[in-house]
Symmetry: C2
Subunit: 121 residues, 2 copies
């Protein structure tokens, strides 16, 4: 937990769509798709590069939480995206996952560049 | 394991960039970025929707395997993408993850639509 980390603060006190077992789901403030939700773990690691620091049970719960969140949102088809590092579009250095969906994610987003898939600026 | 599943067969006998602990990394046959590698688990589930079927240790090893593969490929910044369902771009119904990277993933792929990020057709 870092006082200067926006997502550490958001996990503690932000507007949560869901919260369970050390994970929260929040709406992306700059949505790139009809549904654009972030899944953020309470545990602070800077990026996916340090994923080995996650204990097995927590790694599993994180993946389950993502799938459960999509299901609760009522989206059947969606993309799960993690941007690793600044040049890959990561803007907040606290691991997080994007859930992106639309009525037809594949065709509905023809103009959405990979470059645009990133967290809140 | 399904006889009719391309990825079940690829895990057993394909061209592997890496193989360990029930996971393989293979080059995407239709690369959408300078580096485009797929991580495929030996365990067959149709999509990320069924991720709850993964035991904790295996879920952890899968995430670790993705990060280790990127590191071995020598890419520091990259995107990890899972397409869930046909309308989100999933073409092979055996869970798999895309690792996408380039010299500058963010700026190097301005024309690459999310729609194009999918497994081999």
């Amino acid at each position: 937990m870092s006082d200067s980390c926006l997502f550490c603060q958001l996990v503690k006190g932000g507007e949560h769509l869901r919260k369970a077992d050390g994970f929260v789901a929040i709406a992306d403030i700059n949505p790139q798709a009809e549904v654009h939700v972030l899944v953020v773990p309470e545990r602070h690691i800077d990026s996916f590069r340090e994923i080995a620091d996650f204990p097995a049970e927590e790694a599993k719960r994180m993946l389950d939480f993502i799938a459960e969140t999509a299901k609760e949102l009522g989206v059947r088809d969606y993309k799960v995206v993690c941007n690793v590092g600044e040049s890959a579009g990561q803007t907040i250095f606290h691991l997080h996952w994007h859930i992106l969906a639309g009525p037809e994610t594949r065709r509905a987003l023809p103009a959405l560049a990979l470059a645009d898939v990133e967290g809140p600026a």
